[in-house]
Amino acid sequence: MKETFDRLYDEYHHALFQFLFYMVRNRESAEDLVQEVYIRVLNAYENFNGDSSEKTWLYSIARHVAIDWLRKQSRRNKRFLIFDIQESESVLRDQDPLPEELVTKKESVKDLYSMMKHCSLDQQQVLVLRYIQSLSISETAQVLSWTESKVKTTQHRAIKELRKWLDQQPGLEEELKDGTN
């Protein structure tokens, strides 16, 4: 088991942790969830039949773990909040402080991160997988068990949604000229 863990860690840990963080937007939760992913993977590893690539299999498990967590969070809040599910998730995640990696970034980057929460869960998954994780359309489709066409459509809608929210944010003129960092 140790050998398998070592290899998976070396090849995928950074990517898996990053994926989970950008899905749940909370470092401590991402730490718990990445552990959960390894536990599921290691328990099932002997039966992994290679129908999909190891990479997309791992992302697929991570995605399920993240969605389970998000659903539990929304259930946790539903008795106390009158908002709908997406709104309650947003409220919850708004309470989390920005990670230090983001605190030092320019306002435009922070705004973008903040506006991502306005996207639907499907849209967020596609944004994270396609742009932050740099997965191809085909890999993203495998992870999400979608058609490639659906990935493209969702990606397009996600960018459109982000643009709608970002256009409402004032004061980015100078930063955009400067670059993105």
């Binding site: 942790f17 990053q18 963080f21 539990k72 997406q86 849209q123 068990s145 256009d167 004032p170």
Partner: protein, 389 residues
């Protein structure tokens, strides 16, 4: 000052430049945490009998069949018990019957289930190393007075795809249910919204009072979807007899006490008061209030799983965890199948109130059915699980 507008390229570039977030723990620290849990899970997986709830139910029925004659009063055995063995397979539900024969024991009006459909634990979906998932579909009982949610273990897929697949596959009549209005629909999804398209005149007036609850129990039992949109042959809205044209509903499944429902086919289901069409405002707001009424018979043929006047003590131990203590005067019996069903009903009720971890105390037992009672029971999911042969 004219504000610069974002464009698609800038957004994409910014997304690619979001900073990497790193796990601050060391590899070794992480491995130690994981190792402990993997070993623990493997240990649990070694328990040979209760790996799958399906198998658990079958075994429980076998046990029950063995012990029932000894448990019944002698005169009941002699005078009032009729044992019917129906060798015609129902063509379904391997989990719920001990063999190809479906057996029902009738003692006066009390019917021992031929097929009891237990809930499922999330851990059992992962225990055999195959990526499994589940789905729940709401069906109406024969009188169309109750929504009976039926769950199926499936391959991983989009939730709506799984619903569509099971609607085609499952024969509700074989389980004593009448069907589902969803069987007449074209069901698709857009993001968190499910879209139901019926041809005009598809919904009977008698089905309408339960329709919202049926749709919620199907699509929002774990908050999968939060809204339904109706269409008629592709056009927005559906014209209901009682409600007029409705374009959409918000979906939510509230916490509710759970009861026993027996069908004519002697299948036994666990359903909540929400299944009777009640609104959230008409249901108990807290778990202890719900447990308090679970020893009472309810409308529409719902029977209690809890013995009359059983006082359970409820202590919240965490945001999603609760400890339920049985009174000294009551002890569970591992051989009593009704006790196992009672535990299932309490777990489902607790889950509906957002308690995913339940620790039972003062039960007098270490385990019952698939549950280890000396540790919290977690991850109850699905309801009335059917497994195909």
């Amino acid at each position: 000052m004219e504000q610069i507008k974002w464009n698609d390229e800038k957004i994409e570039q910014h997304l690619k430049n979001l900073p990497p977030i790193k796990d601050k723990r060391s590899k070794q620290e992480l491995y130690l945490n994981i190792q402990a849990n993997v070993d623990k899970n493997k240990k649990v997986n070694k328990i040979p009998v209760w790996g799958l709830p399906a198998l658990a139910t079958a075994c429980a029925l076998v046990l029950f069949g063995v012990f029932v004659p000894d448990l019944m009063p002698k005169e009941m055995q002699e005078n009032k018990v009729a044992i019917d063995v129906d060798k015609e397979s129902k063509g379904m539900d391997a989990a719920s019957t001990a063999s190809d024969e479906s057996v029902s024991l009738k003692a006066e009006n009390k019917v021992v289930p031929a097929a009891y459909h237990s809930p499922i634990q999330e851990s059992s979906l992962d225990s055999i190393g195959i990526d499994q998932d589940w789905v729940t579909v709401g069906y109406l009982d024969e009188q169309a007075q109750l929504v009976v949610p039926v769950s199926f273990v499936t391959e991983t897929d989009h939730y709506v795809n799984k619903v569509n697949e099971q609607i085609k596959k499952f024969d509700p009549l074989a389980a004593g249910l009448s069907g589902s209005p969803l069987q007449r629909a074209t069901i698709t999804e857009e993001e968190e919204t499910v879209i139901i398209d019926w041809p005009a005149g598809s919904i009977y007036e008698s089905e309408e009072p339960l329709l919202k609850n049926l749709i919620a129990l199907t699509f929002s039992n774990e908050n999968q979807k939060d809204r339904v949109e109706f269409r008629t042959n592709g056009k927005a809205g559906y014209d209901f007899s009682n409600y007029g044209v409705v374009k959409d509903w918000d979906l939510k499944v509230p916490g509710a006490p759970h009861y026993r429902f027996d069908t004519e086919s002697t299948d036994v289901f666990i359903v909540s008061l929400f299944s009777t069409g009640r609104k959230a405002s008409d249901l108990p707001k807290e778990l202890d209030d719900a447990l308090d009424v679970m020893d009472e018979e309810q409308e529409r043929g719902l029977k209690p799983f809890l013995p009359k006047d059983l006082q359970l003590e409820v202590k919240k131990t965490g945001e999603h965890s609760v400890e339920i203590t049985f009174p000294d005067s009551f002890k569970l019996s591992a051989e009593n199948f009704e006790d196992l069903m009672m535990i299932d009903a309490i777990l489902l009720t607790a889950k509906s109130y957002d308690f995913n971890s339940v620790k039972f105390t003062n039960t007098g037992l270490d385990s019952i059915g698939p549950y280890q009672l000396n540790e919290p029971i977690e991850g109850i999911t699905g309801q009335n699980v059917f497994n195909y042969q």
